[in-house]
């Protein structure tokens, strides 16, 4: 049995090459400026191979797969605490 995989994006690294949306259109769409929007980061098993291709194809290494559920990601840092 395989663990659930989630696709995560480092928006700081991303430079809108758009390869990911070509290789994984089921999960990734592009905004009007060409940056990826990942609507549902949980990956069904039949897309694992395509997701790995998209990750490898990213010239900026901005995508990765994680076992950690994205919904439980830690709270983002605020401007000030």
């Amino acid at each position: 049995m395989s663990k659930p995989l989630h696709l995560t994006l480092d928006m700081i690294r991303c430079d809108a090459y758009g390869h990911c949306a070509e290789l994984l259109p089921e999960i990734i769409e592009l905004d009007q400026w060409g940056y990826p929007i990942i609507n549902d980061p949980s990956l069904p098993e039949h897309l694992h191979a395509d997701a790995r291709r998209a990750i490898t194809a990213c010239p900026r290494l901005a995508l990765k797969l994680e076992h950690r559920p994205a919904a439980n990601a830690p709270a983002r840092s605020g401007h000030a605490l």
Partner: protein, 421 residues
């Protein structure tokens, strides 16, 4: 704004003790000790006292202070980082606190360090202010002054964001980084780092002296304590005041000499905050402001004079905030730039205003929750509150005219840009 509206406004229950801003400043170290008494030594017990006090962070996010201390207490030896950078253009409370009571901030930083066993203690302040020199002088006059380092940070809105501040102190640019890791996991020099606003630390130093009951005697049950507030806009005496949480906004303005003309809206929480309508009975607390769609933030309260244009003022702020992007994340760089352009078109009541207004919802969806830090989301929330609170003015603008009598600028928007290093 180097002078504050004066009188330290202690709540009734705090008579006989001093707050964050003593009437004539705390002065030199001997005078400070005479006023406040010696620095107590609670060590790790301080965390329990803070827990009982209910103190929450005073930098804007309002996270419970005791929990932050606890998060770094048990692991590797942490660093304490006091954040006095105050990038918010309309806020001056940290500047005033550091100028008038640097020893209380230093006390708080050292007390926090002792509570979490930290050796390294840093106070970070904005480069262009006098705060660094004032702190260095204060530190030189104390026997424990050599425990604290003072660092100056570039003058940028985003430079005080936790990850940006840590990245800068580690030798990088003052720009946010991808999280995790958060500072409490891996911060300055790779060590777990407790980042606390300077007002939080000064308040912590008061609680260490006077206790949790004393602290809770002021403010509301849900939001205890006194806070610093920066009040400006249509008030006779703009400035920084110490007030109990839950004070009526009308009382806050009264303590600033009253309003110069009726206000059409209040901006609470600065440029990361939200506009609220001038409803009677609103209080300076998250609980009360939430009923009007607002929140406290770092307690910057700006009364917008009714003669001015809320759409134009919002457009000016959004343009400034777009320029304050660290230009790292596409949706922030391009999204905020586009948002600013749409707001400018509406503010000028140009023929394309209706089209620009209709584009706002789609733009919101393409920006929301897509930045590495909270900057784009903060701007979106500000913009959304503007369209709600100034709905009538927006309608007028879309019809090609503006109802304002004056186009004199009210909200302070710096034109100078700091460096990233």
């Amino acid at each position: 704004m180097s002078a504050y509206a004066g009188q330290s406004l202690r709540s009734r229950d705090h008579q006989g003790t001093l707050g964050l801003l003593p009437p004539r400043g705390a002065g030199a170290y001997e005078e400070f000790l005479n006023l406040y008494g010696p620095t107590p030594t609670p060590g790790e017990r301080l965390i329990g006292v803070l827990e009982g006090s209910g103190l929450s962070g005073r930098g804007g996010a309002g996270f419970p202070t005791a929990r932050k201390l606890r998060a770094v207490r048990d692991g590797r030896r942490p660093v304490v980082l006091a954040n006095g950078t105050e990038g918010e253009p309309a806020s001056h409370k940290d500047e005033v606190l550091l100028a008038h009571n640097p020893h209380l901030v230093i006390d708080g930083a050292l007390l926090a360090a002792d509570a979490v066993r930290a050796r390294r203690v840093i106070i970070a302040v904005a480069r262009a202010t006098d705060a660094a020199a004032q702190l260095e002088r204060a530190l030189a006059s104390r026997p424990d002054g050599d425990r604290v380092e003072v660092k100056t940070v570039p003058e940028r809105f985003i430079a005080g964001e936790e990850s940006a501040l840590v990245h800068f102190l580690n030798g990088g640019e003052a720009k946010p980084t991808a999280t995790p890791p958060r500072a409490f996991e891996r911060g300055v020099g790779g060590r777990p780092t407790l980042v606390q606003n300077v007002e939080t630390l000064a308040t912590l130093a008061l609680i260490a002296r006077y206790g949790e009951e004393w602290f809770r005697a002021s403010g509301t049950a849900a939001e205890p304590g006194n806070v610093l507030a920066t009040v400006c806009g249509a008030v006779r005496m703009p400035g920084v005041l110490e007030v109990p949480l839950g004070i009526l906004l009308s009382d806050l303005f009264a303590r600033c000499g009253g309003l110069t003309e009726p206000a059409s809206a209040y901006l609470v929480g600065g440029y990361f905050g939200r506009w609220v309508p001038p409803i009677e009975g609103l209080e300076l607390s998250n609980e009360s402001l939430a009923t009007a769609g607002g929140r406290l933030g770092a307690r910057t309260v700006i009364a917008l004079p009714e003669s001015s244009c809320g759409v134009l003022e919002s457009a000016r702020v959004i343009a400034y905030m777009a320029r304050q992007s660290a230009e790292q994340c596409g949706p922030c760089v391009f999204g905020l730039r586009t948002l600013a352009a749409r707001f400018a078109t509406i503010a000028r009541a140009e023929p394309g205003a209706t089209e620009a207004y209709r584009a706002l919802a789609g733009l919101h969806r393409q920006i929301a929750r897509r930045g590495a830090c909270a900057h784009p989301d903060g701007v979106l929330e500000f913009a959304a509150s503007a369209t709600t609170v100034f709905a009538d003015e927006f309608s007028a603008h879309l019809a090609g005219h503006c109802t304002a009598h004056s186009h004199q600028h009210v909200l302070p928007v710096p034109t100078k840009q700091g460096d990233w290093r």
